[in-house]
Point group: C2
Chain length 313, copies 2
Amino acid sequence: MQRLTTIAEVRAAVGEARRAGGRVALVPTMGALHEGHLALVREAASDADLTVVSIFVNPTQFDRPDDLAAYPRDLEGDEGQLAELGDLAPDVVFAPEVAEVYPRPSVTRVTVRGLTDRLCGASRPGHFDGVATVCTKLFSIVQPDLAVFGRKDFQQLAVIRRVVADLDLPVEVVGAPTVREPDGLAMSSRNRRLGPAERRSALCLSRALRAGVAVARAGRAGGGPIDAVRVANEVGGTLSAAPGVTVDYVEVLDPETLAPPDATSRGQAGDGSPEAQQQLLVAVAADVGPVRLIDNVVLGDTEDEERLLAATS
Amino acid sequence: MQRLTTIAEVRAAVGEARRAGGRVALVPTMGALHEGHLALVREAASDADLTVVSIFVNPTQFDRPDDLAAYPRDLEGDEGQLAELGDLAPDVVFAPEVAEVYPRPSVTRVTVRGLTDRLCGASRPGHFDGVATVCTKLFSIVQPDLAVFGRKDFQQLAVIRRVVADLDLPVEVVGAPTVREPDGLAMSSRNRRLGPAERRSALCLSRALRAGVAVARAGRAGGGPIDAVRVANEVGGTLSAAPGVTVDYVEVLDPETLAPPDATSRGQAGDGSPEAQQQLLVAVAADVGPVRLIDNVVLGDTEDEERLLAATS
């Protein structure tokens, strides 16, 4: 595992591997790594000959300077965790300075209309433009065959998938399952900021999503489509019942377009073919004490439902 | 020379050449080829093992549907001209349908702030976003080592250079000199729409630029910086004196940022080092009868000045 800090070094390392016929994987991160990130790296490394983990706190995706300044940075600690992955440790940690990535003010932006104006995009203007732009840059620098992102940041994953499709970028985007604590809480760098009572309250997010799955399963058992409004009500009710929790949003959307299900075909009730199971994204965001948390599940994605239900709280 | 119409075919052809160690060049065009385009192809083919000419009338860079509908299309004629290049004919003509390039509504856009809001961008809203986006797509599809653009569309060239720099795209952008008729008129698909009297009036563009060069040379001979205001006045005066000509703009700008020279360092008077010669873009646009024409020269770029002066009218 080697730390590289310049674009030229990364291009040289990747070019060498590629000329030898190797498959290259990229896991873009902002550092402050936890078990969720490590799962992404394992997924990448098990499918590639050379794995690059980028650690870069990208200033252009922060809409507030104080948020950027407060973002945790611990490169040595991150590298320690990555090294412990042993055979699945990345070959390259790409940890550039800001001036290496943005040597001049970047006037070029990659923007994605529609997908970015709801959910977390509604309260974080410009955030997903910053994400889309820096990921396009990282894809250009590393030129990976595959890039692995977590499904917990579902909107980010959807935005990246759409950028890759719309710009014909030659990279396969892999969405890796959300990693959860044994009691169901989705792993996040922010969880460490939760006090004991807040930590208990935070379980309401995964509990609410499980309630949504139950509604969907009851609907499917009855042979009908999922009732998106009933799901939203059930999830919202569970969230609101938790002490010290302020709901930001509860949304039931088409998982590809992130549009309301009645505005899309994929989110509609069955198209008549028995194998086409309706899929609906349920995404939640809530402030638990001072900490903003997000979580999601895709109804109709049996594996995603099962992973969520496997957690017990 | 083979015509390919799908992205998969182009990727296969280019991938084969690249695995054999070949250098790949791309010349993006919208067809209706003339000698100016052919010069770009010669430039590309003489520096590459595999040359791709794309012929695609990109709908997203047209701000007016009637302009898009009226755009000339003559694929067979274009291919005939390319074939006549003999040894320098391209290996691949990539001529996709619109549905191949945009299989779904493209919600992703590559935008470039600042560079795109003046000159031709001022009267064609969204035009350069469309250009930047489709060129990013073509670079992703072909993955060329170099891409050749004409200097006549100087703003387009500056926008593409900036996109490539800002997004770290692994492609070398080459700006090829403007090809002129013997009397100085810059080659353009639009020239064929000029009547005999308009054709004579159209010479005012290159004549005006030569007047600008004369002012700059007089300034340099006197040891001082170029007087941008005097250049603009001289160029504008020459343009306005021509019959049947309506001036759209006369601008004297920094050739890299396309900002006014007093707002940049490159456009300033000498920085004290004798080898750093001040460079200023002089760009003009004018309606000659019903035809909008553009032309430009970079003062301080001796070769560009000489090419312009070599034409006699």
